[in-house]
Amino acid sequence: MSGRILISNARVVDPAGGRDGAGAIAIDAGRIAFVASGDKADPRLRDFTAERTLDAQGAVVIPGLVDLVARLGEPGHEHAGLLESELAAAVAGGVTSLVCPPDTDPVLDEPGLVEMLKSRARGLNLARLYPLGALTKGLAGEALAEMAELTEAGCIGFSQADIAVKDTLVLHRAMQYAATFDYAVWLRPNDAWLGNGVAAKGPLATRMGLSGVPVLAETIALATIFELMRDTGVRVHLTRMSSAAGLELVRRAKAERLPVTCDVSIHQLHLIDVDIGYFDSAMRLVPPLRQQRDRDAIRAALADGTIDALVSDHTPVGEDAKHLPFAEAEPGATGLELLLSAALKWGESSGLGLARTLAAVTSGPASVLRASSPSLGEGASGLVDGAVADLCMFAPDEAWTVSGETLVSRSKLTPFSGYELPGRVRCTLVAGAVAYDAIR
């Protein structure tokens, strides 16, 4: 069990409170006892006898990262990832809480399956797992899933993952039902018919002879979702935005005070269609990589708060599934261990300062999580006295190279392979216990 730990000589950054300065953090029985500022000798430090001291010299300490979209491979895709390997990858990346979508195999529409998943994850003492339940049974878009039972089993919201509900009547009713109990619905805005294609529609896809997904697929889906929200009052979190036009619609919906939030993946934040190069299947992703102006809009929206969270979109894929012609390759990439660095890399060019940059992966997603599930309990609570001690210590001035050797995840495939990225995680604590230690 975790005892009394002192993290000393730290630069403590708390995006929620705006704190950024020298300090120390005292942990007792798995919770934050207090956070001391470094510029005056805090009397509480004298009275705190630590059993263990973690020296954070040269490092930044932040609340553990919260990742709103991370697939774990289980159940159904165990050849690509297991709970053990992927939750270990999470803490190696400083992620202490993550949300997994329901498109497992079998689908997360059975309370028993959700309980099993939560219990297995708890037993591993790695990152905290918050599953999304299926909105419809089997994600088939026809019959409603047992949302109350699934919530009781531990689901924090309801989602269709990447499978759009074609029938607007069913979608309307699903939202009405969810709104009855104040459950949140998480949707990726993508029209079922226009949204099929392996690349983003545009001059590049035309030149390369690849089927393209037009921006229309996202904007039409958003228009439908917002209309249904106005009618039902349901809370919606939009996952994995991809276009400038889509973000403009979100901006207007937020101005109208609709209960909507959204996120974007590390891939859309950094890469564009041209990065497909000579049909590199590592770039086969959902949503597809769009154009320069979309990436510019995404960066601006993350900076101005239109986008609430940056996500890893972690999707373990086996190598065989990528060694295929572009259109046949399985979409997805490993990402949990890249989330922090991806945020820092964006922060370098955005000029926003460390606290604001890191809000995208800490307080931003934590707010979304808590809004989705007000009775969340522990986890994703930030650097508050009495909160569980979920923390990430990282060296902002150290870089690391993304490769098969450095990645902990079972799946080593990412478009960032070979990139040197900023920020190396030194250690990660969950409930006051060291879940990851780089030195080990």
Partner: protein
């Protein structure tokens, strides 16, 4: 991670694979056309062979059916004295679940020197070129909608034969360009060789505005598209287009974008009419035009063999 350098060229910028016309400099295209010219005379001799590829094994890997293209490659390889093996992929181990790369690895182990590949997915030959042994060469015989470089080269050979100077030509490409690898290859070749005006002609469902970024003028009116053209390239219309809600019927297509004598009269008086084949008479092109004096559809066949001989002999002579 994929190499960003053009995988078709070695360190000395020599051609080692032919995957796409895009990215190849004018000098390489011209070299291929000139070499094809020398091979034309071989095809007229009694003993139609030269020993350039003697002892080499050329494997035809056709994942998509094509008797015509495969036969031309086979003839071309045999005239270069190569050993040719045709792989019937539908009945092969791929149908039994073997992955594309495992198939390639197994064939490489049988000492294949060259793969001629036709595949239904854009980009497949790039994957093969990236994973086969360094001394093995890959020729793309058509990948999905992306590229059909030997067809593009043979189209250029034909145009050069009749028109001589690319820099004075107006070329109209008519039909289902969005789904056509031949059209894309033709467009890249024509822009590289300096054709000043290239028009993409067809309805909006088959000719997208995005094409203008490839250097063409998009026209949605047939009369406007062929007016004053020196070369008209007609593309085949596939039946799937009606099924996919892109066109209502073959009859309406013929009325609006088919090439008949009346439309042909709007082009330059000495305009030539091309079609990569197979032809759908009465759908994209009227019989009277196919059989008329301005059609150069048949002579293309001999040119096709010579162009493929040129491509294979050039790449076989360059090392990775």
């Amino acid at each position: 991670m994929f190499v960003r350098r053009n995988p078709q060229l070695n360190k000395n910028d020599e051609l080692i694979h032919l995957l796409s016309i895009e990215g190849l400099p004018q000098s390489i295209l011209t070299h291929i056309l000139d070499t094809a010219g020398t091979f034309l005379s071989v095809n007229e001799r009694d003993v139609k062979k030269v020993p350039l590829l003697r002892g080499k094994s050329v494997f035809n890997l056709f994942f998509e059916n094509s008797t015509r293209t495969r036969t031309t490659f086979e003839i071309a390889a045999k005239r270069l004295s190569a050993d040719v093996i045709n792989l019937d992929i539908a009945r092969s181990s791929t149908a039994k679940g073997e992955s594309l790369l495992d198939t390639i690895a197994n064939l490489s182990a049988m000492h294949a020197d060259m793969f001629v590949v036709r595949h239904g997915e854009s980009g497949a030959p790039y994957l093969i070129a990236q994973h086969c042994a360094p001394h093995v060469h890959v020729v793309n015989a058509g990948d999905g909608r992306h590229s059909h470089p030997t067809q593009g080269l043979l189209d250029m050979y034909t145009i050069r034969h009749y028109k001589k100077d690319f820099t004075k030509l107006t070329v109209a490409i008519v039909g289902d360009i969005v789904h056509s690898r031949v059209a894309r290859s033709d467009i890249h070749a024509l822009t590289t060789l300096g054709a000043p005006e290239i028009r993409a002609v067809g309805p909006k469902t088959l000719v997208s505005g995005d094409l203008k970024e490839m250097g063409v003028r998009v026209c949605h009116d047939m009369a406007e598209g062929v007016k004053g053209a020196d070369v008209i390239i007609m593309l085949r219309l596939q039946n799937e287009r009606m099924g996919g809600a892109m066109l209502p019927s073959a009859g309406e297509y013929f009325k609006t974008f088919g090439l008949d004598a009346e439309k042909l009269a709007l082009a330059a008086p000495d305009a030539i009419v091309k079609h990569p084949g197979p032809i759908n008479r009465g759908v994209e092109i009227d019989s009277s035009v196919v059989d008329g004096t301005q059609s150069v559809i048949l002579p293309q066949v001999t040119f096709g063999i010579a162009v493929r001989m040129a491509v294979m002999s050039i790449i076989a002579g360059n090392s990775a």
